[in-house]
Symmetry: C3
Subunit: 176 residues, 3 copies
């Protein structure tokens, strides 16, 4: 059985330069390990908050590594260095506004500052890119809010069939 | 009493080529027949999922047919051929993000994959364009969620006064 | 103690030409007077609904007057003269979609026509710009929905530390 590559991009100046031990990447890895029942492996990149670098990394993970799903962590806030959504749009051609709406709504139930998140989801060819926050608890909140729709989205854009553990998340596929 | 033209655009390769019997167009026609108490008539177009064709059809229904309301069905998902929102933006100049938000929220109560819908509403001169999904049940969910605000929106952009059957939908117009 | 300048921009042809007594500006002034415990003063501008004028006023209040927060009132609807969101985007470089979503959701609990509001929030350098509706009641609804997140947003973009009266609004700052 072929292993499905899934991209995890940590966007953080401090993590990339070793000043700070990233916790977002491991939180995403752990979540995917629980939710997916496919044979899969992470393609992990820890990079600086540079728009061109983030964009080029998404592009490579989509086009060269052929990741059907690319999850970024960090860089979605209002600060000057938070540039992940812009970098995502630079290399994607269609946005899915429902992801950002639902992730913010879910996060808002926990902290009022959830409205400051500018996270988006968008598609590049056969890859779905989802921006996630940096904190592990917020990552889980966001993925819980959207993951049921992720496998069907990847079906629609021509990617591999992802299967989930229904005890953790029940993937939804409408009857045709 | 003059009859008000309302545009219904079915965006579907399969319907346009006769492979598939469209059910979205009739569902919209039926809904408008129940909700509107004005004298009105549909201007129906069944076209392929081509961005330029959809854009030109919206343009003609707005500028030549003078439809104050143009409802599209189909082409709002994440798949490559789903291009209705982009075509809509190509010929409209102001977006109304609240429509997409509320239609997705209402649909989300029914299916988790509602977040995959990229549907928008936007204005071209004196015409309000609203993207709807393809399935009749989803069309009803979306129209139920927004229709109370449609007549006042059309008042504000200089269109005819639409009246609704309050047993079906109570149009809301704020007191000035 | 230095006084913090906060911009209030009334976008209204009728108010600017004296045909109509603006009530939006005073409503915002009153709200800030209750919620903020800092020493602050308003920089008030009453201007016409001209895109270039609104954009230039936001620019000046941000760059010259150094307002960390700029609140506009009026011009967010679907009518042809409603152009405040476009003018805001003209001079801002990053949008915060959560503000518009949450303000519309809160307003929707009061009037179905809340979905017609196109209001946005965006950042220009060290200034947060938030579009508000024109009516005092709607202004309060919107500010109540978002103000808890405003001080932390201004922290993140490098502005002064705003303090709120917890009896009126409890500013939220996540623990680092």
């Amino acid at each position: 059985m072929t292993s499905i590559p899934i991209g995890i991009i940590v966007c953080s100046d401090r993590a990339a330069t070793g000043v700070y031990e990233d916790r977002g990447g491991p939180a995403i890895h752990d979540y995917l390990g629980k939710v997916l029942t496919n044979n899969w492996h992470p393609v992990l990149e820890v990079i600086r908050d540079e728009r061109a670098v983030i964009a080029a990394t998404i592009e490579r993970l989509a086009d060269v590594e052929e990741c059907c799903l690319i999850l970024t962590t960090g860089g979605t806030g209002p600060a000057l260095r938070d540039i992940t959504p812009e970098a995502t749009l630079d290399v994607c051609d269609r946005q899915l506004p429902g992801f950002g709406e639902v992730m913010r709504t879910a996060s808002l139930a926990e902290v009022p500052t959830a409205i400051l998140s500018r996270q988006i989801a968008a598609i590049r060819n056969k890859s779905l890119v989802i921006n996630l926050p940096g904190k592990p608890a917020a990552i889980k909140t966001c993925l819980d809010a959207v993951f049921a729709a992720v496998p069907y989205c990847i079906d629609l854009i021509g990617g591999p069939r992802l299967e989930t553990d229904p005890a953790y998340c029940k993937a939804f596929r409408p009857k045709q």
